[in-house]
């Protein structure tokens, strides 16, 4: 049985949708409140032993009050001291969506030279947007560059965020940084993010964070244009591929 941990509590909002998608892909899912993890002193070893995948859903943890994902990252770091680099190097995979991505950034999963802040319009924005997948390493196609995005090139997903503008320290060469790889671009400038970047992966390709919501694009009827082809209304939507890829990857080990 391949198990996934879906984080909940403190204003995380999307744990149900995330769990439904992960379950439909084959995972056995535990939705666990952060406070329960901390109370149980759920260490890095426990995480490695019990769960093949860690899903960090979207939401408004701590109301985004001191910067999105920031206090959640502090609570995870101080309370659990997980080393996600090490977790992923030992077979674990991690997906952070929206607020989960913001928390991953604040935890340093993609190094210290990246941050995320208010959209340039200073507005929350909910819409669907086309995305381009980047699965290249040193100019060559490489599926292992991101285990969630295998066989995906273009996709159409919803974004729902007020703080999705990625900024990098001026010393960073974004295309060639040892701390992260760019995995996903918006096909247009939706929030002022540097180079229209929508998602980052850690060097191992197994810790992936993105602002768009794959878990909200799993049924065709969630796609805003589905009524154009009502005969396809029972089909799956593309976000499901993230979870199927994850399951395939986790079950290979």
């Amino acid at each position: 049985m391949i198990k996934a941990l879906v984080l909940a509590g403190d204003g995380i909002n999307c744990e149900q949708e995330m769990s439904h998608a992960a379950r439909a892909a084959g995972f056995k899912v535990d939705i666990v409140h952060i406070n329960d993890l901390i109370q149980k002193k759920f260490s890095q070893d426990h995480l490695k032993k019990e769960y093949s995948a860690l899903f960090m859903p979207g939401g408004f943890s701590f109301g985004d009050h001191l910067g999105s994902g920031r206090v959640l990252a502090l609570k995870l770091t101080k309370g659990l001291n997980w080393n996600l680099e090490d977790y992923s190097a030992n077979g674990g995979i991690v997906l952070g969506v929206c607020n989960g991505f913001q928390a991953l950034i604040a935890m340093g999963a993609f190094g210290k030279k990246v941050s995320i802040t208010h959209n340039i319009q200073n507005k929350f924005i909910n819409r669907w947007v086309e995305l381009d997948v980047e699965l290249k390493v040193a100019g060559k196609k490489d599926a292992s560059a991101n285990v969630f995005l295998k066989d995906l090139e273009k996709m159409y997903l919803p974004i729902r965020h007020g703080e999705g503008r990625l900024l990098f320290d001026s010393s960073v060469d974004v295309a060639n940084c040892p701390d992260f790889k760019v995995s996903l671009y918006y096909s247009e400038d939706v929030n002022g993010s540097t180079q229209q970047i929508a998602g980052l992966t850690n060097p191992s390709g197994r810790v992936f964070g993105l602002m768009p919501h794959p878990e909200a694009a799993v049924r065709k009827t969630q796609n805003p244009q589905w009524t154009l082809c009502p005969e396809k209304s029972h089909e799956e939507e593309i976000g499901m591929m993230f979870f199927k890829n994850a399951y395939k990857e986790a079950s290979c080990l």
């Binding site: 403190d10 408004f60 319009q121 990098f168 009524t227």
Partner: protein, 992 residues
């Protein structure tokens, strides 16, 4: 130790917050804004910390410092405005700051405090002090909730901002006084003194009610305490007791045709609202009118509850705070419904004044543009942060809403029909169950909210009535309570809204048969709250829960684990009394019977004079209908609301099937009529039941006849559901329920406004009975008047009598849902439904009135229910989904508006049938009842027409869709055309 932390964005990075504020200043005062060269915002945090400064420094770095985004040095500017909340106001950033400190220091910090604020840095050498004060008081600081200081460059340099002497006073100091109750010497008072007492203490009770209280205490042979008087005032307030709807009414009318409204009405609520539902006993009605929300069975296992609230008075004073407390408040109604439901959607309807009104408004009134921005962002913050999608709403502009905006906040929730054999809809409490207050703490915020909203708005308002919401505390509480519900840890619960503990415990005591509590045990935000303040404070994010004593330990343990605070205040009894203690001393002891039944009924008079039908009403013509349409599409009530809609998260929880906007990949949108949500979010489930939500209102028709206005609201709400494919039949299997929200100008001393209320109620009743759709929940707000002064002269502004109808229906299979956009060139377009349109109070009439062009005498629309029902039954059947590729209702702006909107998403053109008489204003722009625009695939058109003929449905062929995005209409050898792009630009250019 004290500290000031400054979060300063790097100079080289663009500052969205500063740019957004600058844009608002530009809109508000273009001339003044030219003096501003740049504007940046710095976040400030003042901390009182109980540990060593080294420990704080390390923690502060973890919490606030970001080397990619921030710099340490303070940027140059000509002016600095600093702002923070008044002490005691809810400060969410400060509270999270303290929580972050506790995380870093790994311990509870009981003596520490964090206060948040902002600094606004203005660069502009020409700016003078008066400019800064003007900008600050208009757009930065609301004196009811904020305090601020304006510094010139030289003043700021001298300001010792890091010194303890400056930081210390930011924090609330505990007061040393022992709170005590007081005796109110009511027994010997004469009538004048009773009225004076009511006024002075904001009780908003009339003489009869004050006398009833006096009589009660004469029998009790003692004077009341201040706590008792306050509890009675809250419980008997118009807001809580709905005295106008319960009144004895004498109704008379002068009309050409006598209506069937009786001349004596004993409670409008009992006869027209609850009475109507009684005549429609649907098997799926699980709970109506008695709980926080109406509860409807949607399947064998699941029930959905729904409630719509208004938060008008608070939003007039502090639009953001008023709206956020409105939305999180109605979410608590859902959470506190039955044994607790999980909110799955929000709705919002705003009625505000025209946005161009910026200057010269009566004193104390916030300009409509700022009201709208404030209430929009309040609903955004409340819904988005709570993870509840905002799925449906409306925006309505009229000058009558300048004095008080109407802010309707709705919410729906889902609950299992049974948990461990207990029925969800039943509220039971046993003798001895513990009274637990869960969630937020009590502060001085929101004292007298219920009684205040039962008064007209004036220039002098006590700031204690204003509250701010804290969605994160509420989110934690919600998660905890749903978890506790599923574990069976509590018996039942209700929310703390208007009236605070006095109402919530008072209501639950009525179920149990009594209650005894000690309010000194309640957790508070500050020391020194008086007993009456503890009892009536409306501090947010609190629920009152009845917990069986055997579950106390488990309930408290889970709460602690979820980071939720609980105060155990006492227990429910069967003494028939509501007893309150403050530690040892008894501060209230009221008979429940008197509390709930003792209020004397109002006696009201209503007299209706029919508006004479316009003499010589002719058929107005529009020789260039497409050009007129362009002007109509730009009108605020019609114009695109995309900017507003996209700032709401309308997809969280993953249920959305039909969204507010039907948007193409090129980001062009048609507004959909109603929202469709998946009841089950489980993938691979067989359950494809859809929840359908829509609304209708048309307050301007009140000017014609409120009887018509009410029916139009019902019809629009129901038509919206039918467009997207909700089921409809006259049988019991159709799940369709309605929610009524009345917002009225004070009708107590005004026979005409009271008659408007009576007629609205009877119009509503007629429509409900015709459609066989029961009312399941509702609310009224009866004092929507502003009294103040303008240029030294007294003014009164009253809102239009407004009925909002929210409709909630069901689809057995949401994969058959329809959207409003035309989809394919070649499809045929029809208008379905009997022609029941008129131009009176239409957007077309508004356009002509504003242009000061001669307003022609025009007729009003009227319903034809028997014909409508034929059509609605077909639209609500599965068969219609085989033929209709789109459906959109014909509402504000009439036929051409609906057609234009439907063309936008897929950028299709329309070749109009030459038989259409678009030159008649009534055809092109008439508004009213029963009509729809639908598109049908060309190959199915003949069969569809055959079916409609068989069923005797009215239909008119409008034309055919074309791939070329242009409209063409040839009539009497004259051709008219317009590019769809031109229409789209008119509609979307200044999206609200």
């Amino acid at each position: 130790m004290f500290n000031r932390t400054e979060v300063i964005l790097k100079n080289e990075l663009q500052d969205p917050k500063g740019m957004a504020l600058l844009a608002r200043i530009q809109k508000w005062n273009p001339v003044l804004s030219q003096k501003i060269k740049s504007l940046r915002v710095v976040d400030l945090f003042w901390t009182k910390f109980e540990g060593e400064s080294a420990e704080f420094t390390e923690a502060a770095k973890d919490i606030w410092w970001d080397e990619v985004l921030q710099q340490k040095h303070w940027p140059e500017s000509h002016w600095v405005v600093e702002r923070e909340y008044h002490p005691g106001m809810t400060d969410n950033l400060g509270r999270t700051g303290l929580e972050a400190l506790e995380i870093c220091c790994r311990r509870e910090l009981l003596e520490s405090q964090v206060v948040s604020g902002q600094a606004y840095l203005f660069v502009g050498p020409e700016l003078v002090k008066e400019d800064m004060e003007k900008i600050t008081s208009n757009l930065i600081s609301n004196s009811l909730i904020h305090r601020h200081r304006v510094y010139s460059r030289s003043e700021f340099e001298k300001y010792p901002r890091f010194e303890s002497s400056e930081i210390g006073p930011k924090f609330i100091l505990p007061t040393g006084t022992t709170p005590q109750g007081q005796i109110v010497p009511i027994l010997g008072m004469n009538d004048d003194q009773l009225i004076e007492l009511s006024k002075k203490n904001l009780l908003s009770l009339n003489l009869q009610e004050m006398r009833a209280i006096q009589n009660y205490f004469t029998k009790e042979k003692r004077n009341p305490t201040d706590v008792e008087v306050e509890i009675l005032a809250q419980t008997w307030s118009e807001h809580c007791k709905h005295k106008i709807f319960s009144a004895e009414v004498e109704y008379s009318e002068e009309a050409s045709k006598k209506s069937n409204i009786p001349s004596k009405i004993s409670s409008l609520f009992k006869t027209t609202i609850a009475g109507t539902t009684k005549e429609l006993p649907k098997p799926w009605l699980l709970s109506v009118f008695k709980d926080n929300a109406g509860i409807v069975a949607f399947s064998e296992e699941e029930a959905v509850c729904i409630k719509v609230e208004t938060h008008n008075s608070p939003s007039a004073l502090d639009p953001f705070g008023g709206a956020i407390t409105g939305i999180v408040g109605v979410n608590r109604d859902i959470l506190g419904c039955g044994f607790g439901a999980k909110p799955i959607f929000n709705t919002d309807v705003f009625c505000v004044g025209p946005l161009e009104l910026t200057d010269g408004l009566p004193s104390g009134i916030i300009p409509p543009a700022q009201i709208l921005e404030g209430i929009r962002s309040g609903v955004e913050a409340g819904g988005n942060q709570s993870g509840i999608p905002t799925v449906n709403g409306a925006l309505y502009f009229d000058p009558s809403f300048v004095g008080k905006p109407l802010v309707f906040c709705g919410s729906g929730g889902i609950m299992p029909r049974k948990i461990a054999d207990k029925l969800c809809a039943e509220k039971k409490i046993e003798n001895g169950d513990l009274i637990c207050m869960v969630g937020g703490r009590i502060g001085r915020d929101g004292i007298h909210g219920a009684t205040f909203s039962s008064l007209e708005m004036t220039e002098s308002i006590p700031s204690s009535v204003v509250q701010l919401g804290d969605p994160i505390t509420q989110r934690r509480m919600t998660d905890f309570l749903i978890e506790a519900r599923n574990l069976g840890l509590y018996r039942t619960l209700t929310d703390n809204g208007a009236g605070g503990l006095s109402s919530s415990v008072g209501e639950m005591a009525d179920i149990a048969g009594g209650a005894r509590m000690d309010v000194s045990l309640a957790k508070t935000k500050m020391h020194g709250l008086k007993p009456f303040e503890l009892v009536i404070s409306e501090s947010q994010e609190r629920m009152t829960v009845a917990v069986p004593p055997k579950n106390k330990a488990a309930f408290l343990e889970l709460a602690h684990r979820r980071g939720v605070e609980v105060s155990v205040l006492g227990e429910f009894t069967h003494s028939g009394r509501f007893e309150i203690f403050y530690a040892e001393s008894k501060v209230a002891d009221l008979s429940l019977e008197f509390l709930h039944e003792g209020v004397p009924p109002l006696q009201l008079k209503a007299h209706w004079v029919e508006k004479a039908a316009p003499a010589g009403a002719t058929e107005p013509r529009e020789e260039k209908p497409f050009q007129t349409l362009k002007a109509i599409l730009q009108r605020p009530n019609i114009r695109s609301k995309e900017n507003l809609i996209r700032q709401y998260d309308h997809e969280v929880q993953g249920r959305s099937v039909v969204k507010s906007l039907q948007t193409s990949k090129t980001q062009r949108s048609t507004p959909n009529d109603a929202a469709v949500l998946a009841l089950s979010t489980e993938l691979k489930s067989n359950n494809s039941i859809g929840v359908v939500v829509g609304c209708g209102l048309n307050p301007r028709l009140s000017a014609v006849d409120p009887y018509i206005m009410a029916q139009a609201a019902v019809d629009e709400a129901v038509r919206n559901l039918l467009c997207v494919g909700a089921e409809f039949s006259l049988g019991d299997e159709t799940v369709l329920s309605l929610i009524d929200n009345f917002c009225w100008p004070d009708p107590v001393e005004d026979v005409e406004k009271m008659a408007a209320l009576v007629r609205t109620c009877y119009g509503l009743r007629e429509a409900c009975l015709a459609l066989k759709a029961p009312l399941i929940s509702g609310k009224d707000s009866m004092k929507n008047d502003y009294k103040g002064s303008q240029n030294g002269k007294p003014v009164k502004i009253s809102v239009l009598p407004t009925l909002l109808v929210t409709a909630m229906g069901r689809m057995p299979d949401y994969t058959l849902a329809r959207s409003a956009d035309f989809k394919k060139a070649g499809d045929k377009v029809y208008k379905l439904g009997p022609a029941q349109l008129g131009l009176a109070q239409s957007e077309w009439q508004g356009l002509h009135a504003e242009a000061k062009s001669e307003v022609k005498a025009v007729t009003a629309p009227a319903p034809n229910w028997p014909k409508a029902l034929n059509l609605y039954q077909w639209l609500g059947s599965k068969e219609s989904s085989e033929y209709l590729r789109s459906a959109h209702d014909l509402s504000e702006g009439g036929l051409l508006t609906a057609l234009a909107e439907s063309c936008f998403t897929n950028n299709l053109g329309l070749e109009f049938s030459s038989a259409l008489e678009l030159h008649l204003a009534k055809t092109s722009f008439g508004e009213g009842f029963h009509q729809f625009i639908v598109s049908v695939p060309a190959e199915k058109a003949a069969t569809a027409e055959k079916i409609w003929k068989q069923k005797a449905l009215d239909f008119v062929e409008v034309g055919s869709l074309t791939a070329t995005a242009e409209w063409k209409w040839t009539f009497q050898d004259q051709s008219h055309s317009i590019a769809v792009e031109e229409l789209y630009q008119a509609w979307s250019r200044e999206s609200l």
